[in-house]
């Protein structure tokens, strides 16, 4: 079978997006000056985080709500909440 890249994997999912992000990068300067690896852009399983040169773009709409970014950020620079009740990812199978 063919593998699917992360965009195609994300298309398999249903999201009920809130208009407000449940993920907040507290200080973009910390990402810029202290975090050369920007490791959240690597390990996030939904590619929510994308570095845009001067700030971290947060595509919260595709978040699986796993919690990895909150625990894995080396600078505790991500405020992590649950999306509003009934919003966010909706798993239909497993």
């Amino acid at each position: 079978m063919s593998t699917k890249n992360i965009e195609e994997k994300q298309y398999l999912l249903r999201f009920k997006c809130d208009t407000k992000s449940h993920l907040t990068v507290l200080d973009h300067d910390i990402c810029m000056t202290k975090c050369p690896d920007k490791i959240c852009t690597v390990f996030c399983p939904a590619e929510v985080y994308k570095w845009e040169g001067t700030r971290m773009q947060v595509g919260y709409e595709g978040c699986h709500e796993c919690g990895s970014c909150r625990i894995g950020c080396p600078y505790q620079n991500i405020k992590w909440e649950y999306p509003k009740g009934g919003h966010g990812i909706v798993f239909r199978l497993a």
């Binding site: 398999l12 490791i39 690597v42 909440e81 009740g85 199978l93």
Partner: protein, 431 residues
Amino acid sequence: MPEKFDVIVVGAGPAGTACAYTCAKGGMNVLLIERGEYPGAKNVMGGVLYRKQMEELIPEFWKEAPLERPVVEQRFWMMDKESVVSFGYKGLEWAVEPYNNFTVLRAQFDQWFAKKAVEAGALLINETVVTECIVENGKVVGVRTDRPDGEVFADVVVLADGVNSLLSKQLGFHKEFRPDEVALTVMEVINLPKDKINDRFNLQDNQGCTIEIFGDSTKGNLGTAFLYTNKESLNIGVGTTLSSMIKAKLKPYDLLDYLKTHPMVKPFLEGGESAEYLAHLIPEGGFHSVPKVAGNGVLVVGDAAQLVNAIHREGSNMAMHSGQLAAETVIEAKNRGDYSESSLNGYREALYNSFIIKDLEKYKDAAHTFEKYPQYFKEYVPMMNQAASKFFTVDGTPKRDKQKQIIKSMTAERGTLRVLQDIYRAWKAVK
């Protein structure tokens, strides 16, 4: 809605629903709060549900629950780049009642289970996030939700809010978890016709197979992969500790694709169609990471209490049993009219006297050992493959000479003393 309940359970996963179900059966007034659109909408697991702890709650549940296949064969693979050393067990005693375990799809199973709690008398409210516990005079007296006028009160609040358990952190029961205490796991559900599954895994219609894969499945990092058979789909997934993922700079979905295209795995998936992609954290800190589980007016169950035995892939069964133990404690507390920490500590005692904490204690050093000494996954798995290849290749070398060569090549790479140390250390971690 009455403004006060006997019990509020936060989270309708296996732990929370087991607790709500048992409390409702015991005649208590129960509110079960779920943040998803329905129970299961936010819940993920590889897919193995053990019979024993579920049966204690609902006898003969397999006759009505939405299950996939009873597992009759469990395989374990030590996988290298182009080879695998495998062992396993298949037994037809697992193909008949009462069965040993089942593959399940959680979105369906969790809805069914929550419905049983509702039928028993619990009130289920979906699409509601509990934002914090309401604490008065050092006692949890209720919860605040994200609904308008969303305060609800109860004698006891049971936190079954999963691996991230922001609520038990709010109460100071544990600090933020370290990246080596959680495993980041991703999986896909792959649709495949029933006949193909039966042929490829050598199964009959109502029989399932599970394969746990170590070694190259995680590129030698601390973790495992799995391939499970559903009725007409496969669950394939891989995870490592978040710390390993960070250290090796791995993208989890790349690792999943690496696994799916691995020559030992690919033939099983041929012709399949991806149906869902899921990511989740598994609390794998074990015994040392279990937080405080009982306070004034509050209990912690399931993943929120880090009750997972990663070595034996047990979690949902521990969650259910912890939920049941919590419920029994709450019922006793109600009879006493005492919901203080000392009264609710009966749950802690029950938990520590049960197989749950006993098993976690048995493996208390395992995760730490394998994280600190990466050679087990990185070096020994390839070595085992090379040894098997050498031993089973007929090339005219006498078998005794082959044995000597194999042992020599193993000790040459790491040194005899280090090999003995490694063996002793691994044995100590799991004995």
